[in-house]
């Protein structure tokens, strides 16, 4: 019953043009990110004029609302033909674990994706049983943003590590009445945490945390929380009321010097604010993480029981193709994971990100679904809350370990 009502509402919402075939694409790309998805859909429709594409989007950054809707649909036995999902544990820990996805290895082999995508990325989207989604873009999480002219004006330079930031950069800026580092609502604070933790722990220990090989109560992790506490002392006190865009605006307005945000911030600055990369805004790997690319990736998968399986497979082939990715990514403000993408289509920031992606070591983002399963990711907000309200690194470490044990992190 519910299925039919849902299906009916979707059909009514998008018009009743009875084409020969249908393909329902489920994503959270609306608003600023809508045109990129539209470009991909247009390409698909050009190749398959008989198929009507149903673009089912649920708004909300990072898929916070879309994922909830998807879960009710999947539990009700009404999967879309293909849905957007963060590559990595968000896909594997939730959907592959529940045996709801089809293995895409045949598509990867047939379409040459095995060679087109870097090995460490394929490893991220695979288990021993198969490859589970086609990545369409790559975003970087550990990026420090600033305005180069203003830094000169204030007489500070980009810090090389969090120690330098805490001891020198932060007091120098605070003396001039400038917020050294701006953060926004809870998830952006967690976003900052993953960059600080990566810098303090190093790539191996950072990854070991999520594989269950390094306990969260280890002294190194507690020390990272303490550093994080010192960094937070350099941030604005009205964080919870700011979206990530508002936090970015503070840097543009000159009220704040730095922030750590994913590189969708470059898309916002270039497309929405009309700024020039390199001159109007500058970037660097977040302090202490030079040579490491903390990545997250959007991808599309094929749920078991997709009503239009053949069309969905055509869609996945397009999503992974050079043509599809180079149409999508310049508009989205992300880079293509393909090694053969046409860099001339991308802006200065994205070209530099693509170079780093090709050469840097790669680790997964916690906050954006790559490194840890959803149950941990969601409860990490509570861990952060415990840290922010108690200010105790030990309490946070113990809480994180308790969550990790409860959800079976790394199993």
């Amino acid at each position: 019953m519910l299925r039919h009502i849902l299906a009916l509402s979707v059909v009514l919402g998008f018009g009743l043009g009875a084409a020969q075939g249908e393909l329902e694409i489920f994503s959270w790309w609306a608003g600023d990110e809508g045109p990129a998805l539209e470009a991909l859909i247009e390409l698909y429709e050009a190749d398959h004029p008989d198929t009507e594409v149903i673009n089912a989007t649920v708004t909300g950054g990072s898929g916070v609302n879309a994922r909830a809707v998807l879960k009710t649909r999947m539990l009700g036995g009404d999967p879309p033909d293909s849905f957007q999902v963060h590559a990595g544990e968000e896909l594997i820990g939730t959907w592959v674990a529940a045996d709801r996805m089809e293995d895409l290895t045949p598509i990867f082999e047939r379409e040459g994706f095995m060679e087109a995508f870097p090995d460490d990325l394929i490893e991220l989207i695979s288990t021993d049983e198969g490859i589970w989604s086609v990545p369409v873009n790559i975003h970087r999480s550990n990026v420090l943003w600033f305005d180069p002219d203003r830094l000169d004006e204030w007489g500070v330079s980009v810090p090389n590590g969090w120690g330098e930031f805490i001891d020198e950069t932060c007091p120098a800026l605070q003396d001039q009445g400038v917020t050294p580092l701006v953060v926004g609502e809870n998830w952006t604070v967690q976003h900052l945490w993953e960059s600080v933790a990566l810098a303090e722990l190093g790539n191996d220990d950072y990854s070991a945390l999520f594989e269950g090989d390094l306990p969260w109560t280890d002294l190194r992790v507690v020390a990272a929380w303490e550093t994080f506490g010192d960094v937070m002392a350099c941030t604005n006190d009205d964080a919870a009321g700011l979206s990530w865009q508002q936090a970015t605006d503070r840097i543009v307005a000159g009220d704040a010097a730095f922030n750590v945000m994913g590189d969708w911030a470059a898309g916002y600055k270039v497309t929405t604010l009309g700024l020039e990369p390199g001159t109007d805004f500058g970037w660097a790997a977040s302090p202490g993480t030079d040579g490491t690319f903390m990545l997250l990736s959007d991808s599309f998968g094929l749920p078991v029981g997709a009503p239009n399986r053949a069309e969905a497979i055509q869609w996945l082939e397009l999503v992974g193709s050079k043509e599809g990715q180079d149409a999508f990514n310049p508009l989205k403000g992300s880079i293509s994971p393909r090694v053969d993408s046409d860099l001339s289509l991308y802006n200065a920031y994205l070209r530099s990100a693509a170079e780093d992606f090709a050469s840097d070591a790669k680790v997964g983002s916690l906050v954006h679904g790559t490194a840890a399963k959803e149950a941990f990711m969601s409860e990490f907000a509570t861990v952060m809350e415990i840290f922010l309200s108690t200010g105790s690194a030990d309490a946070a470490a113990n809480a994180a370990q308790a969550v990790a044990t409860q959800v079976g992190l790394g199993e």
């Binding site: 529940a98 919870a240 969601s378 922010l388 079976g408």
Partner: protein, 371 residues
């Protein structure tokens, strides 16, 4: 003929009975069942097409009230308590005040009445969005003083992390027992006054027992092996303001109807007896508004316990300082895929609402039968 009538009546009621049985009571039952299982503890079953659930008894509830990471749920309960308290005080106080003002035969009464009642017509999501803008750190209310040349306020309405009136979670059973002791003491006093000695004695013994248990630190019950501070999150002040703004017009309408129901003769009689205008309200009008206050408290009380959309719009779902159980239930179920724990939170909420609603339904149904 008569049996025929009853049959027709039964058939007429049947569809709604069936729908209610399935979609209300059936789903309550299913939620209660889910809350006793481990749905979501195992990722391979959480979102499987036909999840295999194992019965775990009250484990999910035990975790909520005594587990290390569920400190957030406990703070949410405390948040709900304070929110409900101030929301009720605010709406009832402001509603009554507005009603009394309008009762003074002011000109354009209908206009004022409409203006005051208007926010009630808005959805919480709209109110929340409007007040989110009003309470921005550097806009809205905070810049109002600049209009008259004063410096802008620096109040962190929704984003402050300040917590006041802190207490240890382990003292909650003592507070509950003390509250129950007070209730029994009152019942004993009432029973004594009406001459029911035995009943008074039983209630008196219960009072002493509970009071003694609370006073000695509730032996036999330890929630947590360590002290866990909870308190009133000051960030809720902004949310209380928005909620009071939305619903005080509604209580005003209730009270105004009540005030109009007080016969003019009664007031006149009081005035003839030499009562001041204040005295008329204090001794004649307000006592007659008692039943209205009770209805308003119950309607507002259950709105307050279920509040979700207002906070979602004002502060977002992830801002734990302004979190309430209903939001946590959503996050647990649909973000963390821990459906059993989400269901347990839902059942706790249901019990809290039932505690408010059921006595009211009982008393109002009794009244109807008597009529």
């Amino acid at each position: 003929m008569r049996t025929n009538d009853r049959l027709v009546a039964f058939l007429m009621l049947l569809p709604s009975l069936v729908l209610l049985a399935i979609f209300v009571y059936g789903f309550i039952g299913r939620t209660a069942w889910v809350s006793l299982t481990n749905w979501g503890a195992d990722a391979t079953q959480a979102l499987a097409l036909n999840p295999e659930l194992a019965f775990v008894g009250l484990e999910n509830y035990r975790k909520l009230f005594t587990g290390l990471i569920d400190v957030r749920f406990r703070q949410d309960l405390v948040n709900t308590f304070f929110f409900t308290l101030f929301f009720l005080l605010g709406t009832l106080g402001l509603g009554l005040g507005l009603a009394i003002l309008l009762d003074q035969k002011v000109r354009f009464e209908a206009v004022f009445r409409t203006i005051f009642l208007f926010p009630f017509a808005l959805a919480f999501i709209v109110t929340g969005t409007v007040w989110r803008w009003m309470l921005q750190p550097s806009g809205g209310v905070n810049v109002l003083p600049e209009l008259v040349g004063l410096p802008a306020l620096e109040i962190r309405w929704l984003t402050t992390r300040e917590q006041i009136w802190q207490f240890d979670w382990n003292t909650v059973p003592a507070f509950l027992a003390a509250g129950a002791a007070l209730a029994f003491a009152y019942a004993a006093w009432r029973a004594w006054g009406t001459g029911r000695r035995v009943r008074a004695g039983v209630h008196g013994i219960l009072t002493l027992g509970l009071a003694g248990w609370a006073a000695t630190g509730t032996p036999g019950v330890t929630l947590l092996p360590y002290p866990e501070p909870h308190g009133f999150n000051v960030a809720f002040v902004g949310i209380v303001i928005a909620a009071v703004w939305q619903l005080s017009g509604y209580t005003m309408a209730l009270y105004l109807a009540g005030l109009r129901g007080v016969p003019e003769e009664l007031r006149e009689a009081a005035r003839v007896d030499g009562a001041s205008e204040f005295g008329v309200y204090r001794h004649v009008v307000l006592p007659l508004l008692g039943p209205i206050t009770l209805s308003a408290m119950i309607i507002l009380g259950h709105i307050s316990l279920k509040i979700f959309d207002l906070i979602w719009a004002m502060a977002g779902a992830d801002n734990a300082t302004t979190d309430v159980p209903a939001l946590l239930m959503y996050l647990r179920s649909f973000r963390a895929n821990r459906f059993a724990e989400g269901a347990a939170i839902a059942i706790v909420l249901l019990l809290m609402v039932a505690l408010v609603i059921v006595p009211y339904l009982r008393s109002s149904l009794k009244g109807e039968v008597r009529r």
